[in-house]
């Protein structure tokens, strides 16, 4: 049976996820991910011709809150776990290639 995923693909996914994998990890994760994919592959044996695509696994919809302001936790508590801060800001390594923004 052909391998579900090869090292090349794992390397790409790791890069997209900003993960720096060692050669050993690369090998380990490739076989683990392959096993997971193989397991899930069993689903493809089912006939789903008359099954609606599933958008969510819970049979629930429309869970809303009203547009009310709740108290925030405050700057000090927000920054309490930050490895580094600069006054009221989180301090992070300089962002090069800033393609940020929604």
């Amino acid at each position: 049976m052909a391998r579900r995923i090869d090292q090349q693909q794992v390397r790409k996914v790791a890069k997209l996820s900003r993960l720096d994998l060692t050669d050993h990890e690369l090998e380990e994760f490739t076989s683990q991910l392959g096993a997971i994919l193989e397991y899930v592959e069993k689903m493809n044996k089912l006939n789903t011709d008359n099954v609606e695509p599933l958008a969510h696994c819970l049979p629930v919809s429309n869970v809303f809150r009203e547009d009310c302001v709740k108290e925030s936790i405050g700057t000090e508590r927000a920054l309490a776990n930050a490895p580094e801060r600069d006054e009221s800001f989180f301090k992070v390594p300089k962002i090069l290639d800033d393609g940020s923004g929604a």
């Binding site: 919809s61 809150r65 009310c68 936790i73 927000a78 009221s88």
Partner: protein
């Protein structure tokens, strides 16, 4: 190059911040200019184990815009995660909508020169959460403020139906006016409530065929001026590049550029090759939204007459100029006030002049809305009627309007108090006319003998009567008396 013709093709992606009190998925306040990282909680900080919950108001606002954009509103919509790796969104994904957006396949009419409009297709409009702000201060680090993280953001994507910087600007301005009319966004450019990303390329035709230049996307423009100029700049740059290199559109040669506001040029932005591999997948933390017809109808009932339609109605029904109609419909409070005053019986053109020439001058000075002026539409309609009935002059109406704002009194009371009621009593005016005629035999001579001096002399005599009555004579009545006596 002989016989080279080109057409600019532009599609636009617009982000509009919705004016809810709280964020999209948590109760933190949406507030501009607060202390950095003071409007955050575990949900928008992306802490593990938290659960986002949808803001109902934000969803309904988004549907309102979808309806105003003539979109189809599907009865089922859901949330997806979009991979994201910048620190201004610490979850490492953005909650957005991918394959089932809350609205699609619509259009917007935009005003062009000389009362023409053009229809621009809307591919989709969907809700998502905004990122925070990365600040690149001094030193070898960046600062992150997460106050804006999780603010409801509507992303609107147009078809590539625009063909110039001016058209792109017109759409942006029209959309701003529309969302403000709907009351779903302040659309304040200074506060970044509207951000634009145009996609541009050219279709070039010349002797040897038709060519399409590679598409470029200009990121994060936040003023109408930058939007229009960057599109025009980019069109010219692509044309020059094509003439020089002959480069044409191919799979994968789309590039991203930034706009340098100072130099007024676009600059190529380097991007990682796989940067656009967003790997969307359904967000398991958020359940879908299912609309009912009743709910959708209820949202629909909150729409109002949209600004461009209103503007065109003013031109057609009231014979206002396109410019005046545009001024009245620039914001909803002014347009509503005008509509009310017309309903109260004021003559539209007269009301328009009062509002645009006097009212908006005052609101600008006071930096307030016309509703804050303690003048009701009914009072303004009464004032307009006094001019129509020649009780006061058009000039006095402006003075009285200003006094109404200052004192809150009704126009008829102020006309009395300020002594601005025109004298229309023919008997009384006749005596004054007689005096003037006696005092100015030369002018009388010029009128009665006819010739080229007649008109000027008549105007002079009218002026003398107005002076003697301190401007309170009804000029129409005086003219009639003069004509009768000298005719």
């Amino acid at each position: 190059m002989a016989d080279l013709k080109y057409k600019v093709i532009v599609g636009l992606e617009i982000h509009v911040q919705l004016c809810t009190k709280s964020k999209m998925f948590c109760g933190c306040a949406v507030e501009f200019g607060a202390e950095p990282n003071s409007r955050v909680c575990p949900v928008c900080l992306g802490m593990p184990g938290v659960l986002p919950v949808m803001n109902k108001q934000a969803f309904e606002y988004a549907v309102m815009v979808g309806l105003a954009l003539n979109c189809r509103i599907p009865m089922f919509t859901k949330w997806d995660r979009k991979s994201y790796y910048y620190p201004d969104l610490p979850k490492n994904y953005q909650i957005s909508q991918y394959d089932l957006p809350l609205s699609e396949n619509g259009y917007i009419e935009i005003p062009l020169e000389s009362s023409q409009t053009k229809r621009i297709g809307i591919i989709r409009a969907h809700l998502e959460e905004d990122a925070g702000k990365n600040l690149h201060a001094t030193g070898n680090f960046s600062q992150v403020d997460l106050n804006r993280t999780g603010t409801p953001l509507l992303e609107i994507v147009t078809e590539p139906d625009m063909n110039s910087g001016a058209e792109v600007r017109a759409l942006a301005v029209e959309l701003q006016r529309m969302v403000r009319f709907l009351g779903v966004s302040e659309a304040d450019m200074q506060k970044g409530h509207m951000r634009f990303e145009p996609n541009i390329n050219l279709i070039i035709t010349r002797g040897d065929g038709e060519f399409r230049t590679p598409i470029t996307e200009i990121k994060n423009l936040n003023s109408f001026r930058a939007l229009e100029r960057s599109v025009n700049y980019e069109a010219q740059r692509q044309l020059d590049e094509f003439i020089e290199t002959g480069i044409v559109m191919e799979m994968g040669n789309k590039t991203t550029r930034g706009w340098d506001d100072e130099k007024e040029v676009t600059v190529l932005q380097r991007e990682k090759e796989e940067a656009h591999d967003y790997r969307y997948f359904p967000d398991p933390d958020l359940v879908p939204v299912e609309l009912t017809q009743q709910w959708l109808d209820e949202i629909k009932s909150r729409l109002c007459e949209l600004p461009l339609k209103k503007q065109m109605r003013y031109v057609q029904e009231y014979c206002l100029s396109d410019y005046d109609a545009g001024v009245l419909t620039a914001d909803r409070s002014t347009a509503d006030f005008f509509d009310e005053a017309v309903k109260a019986g004021g003559e539209p053109k007269r009301l328009c002049n009062l509002i645009t020439q006097t009212g908006l001058k005052i609101t600008k000075e006071k930096n307030c809305s016309i509703n804050d002026l303690s003048v009701t539409p009914q009072s303004l309609a009464d004032l307009a009627k006094m001019v129509e009935d020649s009780i006061i002059s058009a000039g006095s109406a402006a003075t009285i309007f200003e006094a109404m704002v200052e004192t809150g009194k009704e126009p008829d009371v102020l006309a009395q108090e300020l002594n601005l009621i025109q004298k229309s009593d023919a008997g009384e005016l006749e005596k004054i006319v007689d005096t003037v005629l006696m005092e100015n035999p030369q002018a009388v001579e010029d009128v009665t003998s006819g010739g080229k001096k007649e008109k000027k002399a008549m105007g002079f005599l009218l002026g003398q009567v107005m002076q003697k009555t301190k401007g309170q004579a009804n000029p129409k009545v005086v003219s009639e008396i003069l004509a009768k006596k000298l005719g």
